[in-house]
């Protein structure tokens, strides 16, 4: 029997706002309205051009007010990615004489990290600051990284995968004292609030706050040396080539203002819902690790990883149940490497789920998600033949004295992908005498992250990685 449209709709919840938020009603309205007025070239002097110019100017003023900058410091780009690319390239070029050193955190968005790679390929030097297990950078790590030849530092306002807020204001202050511009990737936070602190450049993306796709913001504070790269183009102060995407720009500015008007109340509401998920998931799903900072975090994002779970299979299960979420597991990506964010944090990547609630998410939807999740996880685990979680059976533990050929046990998981190496490890750990070790042979990138994470979660000792003929041998010592 086919579900009725109403029932179908009821069962569907989109929980991936951190990828793209559904279009805000104000954005839709502004977009439609400006299609009639905003198609002409704002550089032209005739009436259609003047109308387009007025719309563009008004949108720039509105966006600048929301950002907390001067209108002439803000240009509209075609995406947040473009804003980051242009901002980093322009700032590095503008300060070429100062030096060729760039600082980024290890958990920046790929647009920042790929810009850094281009810079390295051109002879620049990049320092990647580490993060704690919650995903936050330490202000001191930026202090340590700053050099006399540092041209630019970059830091996200909050992390896109785990929601952890970064100490942007303090890092900006530090950079200001050192005379180094700080570029803030504010993609995940700008819909919630302006970025505090004396930052120098800022990038953001409209479709993250419910604006249309096709619009990013790049802000370059007055006084920051900036040399736009690429072919000359007079539009947007020479900082964003191509004909202005005006109706979408108008919609972006209008929706930013609209979401900000509701931001404080909506943040409180979503924060309560994500706190519920943070608290209840470990209670209803065994062997799970909730990652990211519990306090300093975005209102709508919560991320957790489930042992013995294939991330892609879990996404499919949840999708079938009507929930759209994303994952940083390597098993969902074509690159076969786990998310660089989870890697930098040193947390479990297998069975990873990011829930990012769009504004307006109903508590009922979250409750239903919490109802559905345990069954979805269990179904995936069962298919994979994962070891059933539960208290260890003491009869299974060989006494330490009986330890046979200690260190002889080897699990061959070569050619097997996440989460199989960890599942195989969990299956044999009962056979390892306490104090003894087991070697897991794996050529899966995720194992390097997930085997230590498993040890941490299960109270066993991760004894290190050894080279092997193929892949690596990950050594685990049984402690209990």
């Amino acid at each position: 029997m086919a579900l009725s449209p109403a029932l179908y709709r009821w069962g569907v919840a989109y929980f991936d706002a951190a990828s793209a938020a559904p279009l805000h009603p104000v954005a839709r309205q502004a977009l439609s309205a400006s299609l009639d007025e905003g198609w002409a070239d704002p550089a032209r002097l005739y009436r259609e051009g003047r109308r387009a110019r007025m719309l563009l100017d008004a949108a720039r003023e509105a966006a600048a007010e929301s950002v907390g900058c001067r209108p002439d410091e803000l240009v509209f780009t075609s995406s947040g990615t473009r804003a980051v690319h242009s901002g980093i390239a322009g700032a590095l070029a503008g300060r070429r004489r100062v030096g060729r050193h760039l600082i980024v955190s290890a958990v920046e968005h790929s647009s920042v990290l790929h810009s850094a790679e281009v810079f390295e390929a051109e002879g620049g030097v990049v320092t990647r600051t580490p993060v704690t297990r919650t995903g936050a950078v330490a202000v001191e790590s930026y202090a340590d990284a700053l050099r006399s030849d540092t041209a630019l530092a970059c830091l996200q306002s909050a992390n896109h995968e785990v929601g952890t807020e970064q100490p942007v204001a303090a890092v900006a202050e530090l950079c200001r004292e050192a005379g180094v511009p700080l570029l803030v990737d504010a993609a995940q936070s700008l819909g919630w609030a302006a970025v505090a602190g004396p930052w120098s450049l800022l990038a953001a993306s409209a479709h993250k706050w419910g604006g249309p796709s096709g619009v990013g913001l790049l802000v370059v504070r007055k006084g920051v040396r900036f040399a736009p790269q690429g072919p000359l183009d007079e539009r947007e102060s020479g900082r964003a080539a191509g004909f202005e995407n005006l109706p979408a720009i108008v919609a972006a500015a209008a929706s930013l203002r609209a979401v900000r008007a509701q931001a404080a109340a909506e943040a409180d509401r979503l924060r309560e819902l994500t706190a519920r998920i943070r608290a209840r998931v470990p209670a209803v799903v065994p062997e799970v690790e909730v990652v990211g900072d519990a306090e300093r975090r975005l209102p709508g994002i919560v991320t957790f990883s489930c042992l013995y779970v294939d991330g892609e299979a879990l996404l499919h299960e949840l999708d079938r149940e009507g929930f759209s979420v994303s994952s940083g597991s390597s098993c969902t990506s074509s690159t076969l490497t786990p998310s660089h964010v989870l890697r930098a944090m040193g947390v479990l990547s297998e069975g990873n789920v990011r829930v990012s609630l769009p504004a307006g998410t109903a508590p009922d939807e979250v409750e239903r998600f919490l109802d559905v999740l345990p069954g979805a996880v269990a179904a995936v685990r069962e298919k994979l033949g994962a070891p059933l979680p539960g208290p260890a059976d003491p009869r299974e533990i060989p006494p330490a004295g009986d330890a046979p050929a200690v260190d002889a046990l080897v699990v061959d998981a070569l050619g097997r992908r996440c989460p199989i190496p960890v599942i195989e490890l969990a299956k044999v750990i009962g056979e390892v005498p306490v104090g003894g070790t087991v070697r897991v042979l794996s050529d899966d990138e995720a194992a390097r992250l997930d085997i230590p994470a498993w040890c941490e979660m299960r109270g066993q000792e991760y004894a290190g990685e050894e080279p092997a003929d193929r892949g690596s041998a990950y050594v685990v010592r049984r402690l209990s």
Copy 2:
């Protein structure tokens, strides 16, 4: 008395489709429809992502069919300018080992010419092929320009300022034989027809055919060596960074198909209207030069220049009368240089007007334009104190024998902008004995183009340019 909205609307005609065409109804419809379905990330596996992916795939197939290429050869960029920038940079990098030589025509769009400048700044060598007085390149000029180290050649399908069609198919054939890829900037023609010939890369812009702003096309034929530049980004085959502007992409593809369905009939209709303007303008406005090829031209574009006219003032006059047109005169631009297209053609730039009719232009609007134009030109000329056109009064011509101090006459137009230097020249020519010369001192870039053009139009001899303390001295010999 304020005009009633109805009357106001009746009097308004937008004749600048070559800058941006009003949104086609199909584009509007498709855009609105896909706002609900197309906001999610097409790279995601959940239902909203799959729907977005289906829309993106369908749009790509439709656009590829209109272009005449395989879907996997076509990516969507954020603008035509971006398509050109990325296409040229990627093709040049892909063939770096072949050599560092680039061919462009002198009348390409600024996005092509600025890309060439970047290439030159990086050590590349650029050949700029000349054009005839009608704005067309000669196929032979590409044959002459091709070298063993030519990495890429670029040629527009038709010129954006004067409408002249280029021999793209023949140049593409020539390039194919030489093993050199040809990039075609098809921005002005793609709405009318697919580009013929064995071209290798193609760039276009949706808002030129009535699609939305924020969408360009870049086509790279299979087998063409191509190395995308800039930071890595997996979207659009790595050739167009940033989140896809999906609703606009859907609208772009749908409207391209829609305008093509009407293209043959609409082209005939507009061609007749522009032929009317080509024929009638010189009849109703004295001292005017219609530029561009009379036969091999786009259906909707016609361009002419008026002696003794300030382009910006004329645009204002026409705007007041309800007509939106553009101009390649230096007097309308902040750069103080006339259009590089008019310059390359060697035609008059002062008082330049480009009329580009959008699809659906009513014959009545064109008739009203032809009614209004003579008065608008006359009004500008009167304000400037331009010499009234008419047959020369024979009494004013000093007999050759009486020639006083030949070559003594100097007109000082330093610090005066287009069209003043030409007006001053026209005012004094009557005082010059036949066979004698006059020197016009000018530091206005437009004078270099417009004084020779005036000579050509008035049957006088342009005797060349001499260096002067400030600017240049342009020497004109009176012939009659």
